[in-house]
Amino acid sequence: MIYLAGAVYLVPIIWVISLSLRSKKDVFSTIFFTRELHLENYFIAWKTFNFNLLFLNSCIITCVSVVIVLVVSSMAAYAFSRLKYRGSEFFFYAILLGMMVPPAAVVIPLFLIMKNLGLYNTHSALILAYIAFGLPIAVLIFRGFFLSVPAELIEAARIDGSSEVNTYLKIIMPLSTAAVATVTIFSFMQNWNEFLLALILLKDKLLYTVPVGMANLVGQWDSPWQLVAAGVIISSVPIFTVYLLIQDLFIKGLTAGAVKG
């Protein structure tokens, strides 16, 4: 029964898969699946959209930004939760405000900043922007998680003469694999699918990420929908795989206080 409910929920996605297996002329006439399954659409889509390049770019940008977000946000969250100092609460809430900024609103100022830094049309521009936009929720999750780590543990380490950096590296982080998983999924999701900033900050076709590369070929008159559908499926596989790999950790991270905010 529950299997059925899940399957029904996924009908739109199944429909996209069926769309990706049709021939061009059947795109609008068939309801679901035709007798022939055009698997070659996937090859054609891969080549037409140039997924080799798109995946490479998206991978670089997403992975680098996620790794940096993990480092920067966990450090900051540790500071905001256990290394409090005057003004730390203020900075925490300030960074949290970052969540409320709609990318559409700051796209042009951001573009100008990147231009002035000489980073326009580079991967770095996008990486830096993604880090900034990904920090708020990452800091939130890590901080919630760290707050649930027993204070005695940290105290014990301090008494033992461990430096703060050491405590952070050797004690706190190993305990936080779950939070790491959670932040990884959230950031990965956000960055892999991001469209507007990637569109504006990258000029060169060779640098495009997956969303932008695909949008480019969905032209005005005559989109090859079966190829677009195949492209959609292809581009969703990596992120779904990452999710499958760490979903248990992910939920543990959400559970263990990360959600408590």
Binding site: I2, Y3, A5, G6, Y9, P12, I13, W15, L19, F28, I31, F32, V71, V72, A76, A79, F80, R82, L83, Y85, R86, S88, I95, G98, M100, V101, P102, A104, A105, V106, P109, L110, L112, I113, L128, A129, A132, F133, L135, R158, W192, N193, F195, L196, P211, W225, V228, V232, S235, F240, Y243, L244, F250, I251, L254, T255, A258, V259, K260, G261
Partner: protein, 290 residues
Amino acid sequence: MVLRRTARIGFLFSLPAIVFFILFLLIPVLSTFFLSFTEWKGFDLANIKFAGVSNFAELIEDKIFFISLKNTLLFVAFTTVALNILGYIGAAIIDSGRRGTGFFKNALFLPVLLAPIIIGIMWSRMLDAFGIVNQLLKAMEIIKMPILFLGDQRIALYTVIGATIWQYLGYDMLLYYAGLQGVPYELVEAATIDGASKWTIQLKVIIPSLSPVIAITMLLNMIGGFKVFDIVYVMTAGGPNNSSHVFATYLFQQAFRFNRMGYASVIAIVIIVFSFLAAIIRLKLVRQEE
């Protein structure tokens, strides 16, 4: 002695994050704030003209802005409520551990992982006047003429809301599921022993202990709702006839179609202010409870 040292290290630890925030979030937002007092076409830097509060004055008279205001509030309200209630029900189902719940969990989370653009294109094609949904409805003889899900001004917005709920249900569901893992089992046990019915347990024991989860989930939903852009843009672009504009799409239209960056910046400020208010209200409510 120790305190001061940790304080200094704390500051250093949080410095990178703060720098990122200032450079790539704060400064752009301040620029937007500054731009809202100007008139600027958006493509010639030399021509930014100071315009005082005229943009704000115009906003108050702008009929379409108020449509977008109404729509954004409706969007936030409907999505937040639906996602939370349905998400909780979903979480309860997964938690029961029956057969198929693993599949169910992954199935519902899959849409969350997809780009909103994709979701928008998917649903637009399916809800076309001659798309699959209408085809099925016609085949089942429920309707004679196709329902114009995205073409009828009265329901376009709700169609988009529906697609958004479909996408993010898994998200809230996982958040609640995680929260449910954190509910102390002893409480539930005690209540069961005391003879409380399943419903009472849900209402009186589980949900109250989930209140921090509810609070943050609602907050995340609301903030996301005020910011929403991609999916509305792809499905209706604010149409037909401006009936489904939300803040962000109206901002986009003003900035990039009408070349009115100054005016668009005002709308941007409005989004930030609304989200901020929502966060503060939620904070107050949580404080009250405690």
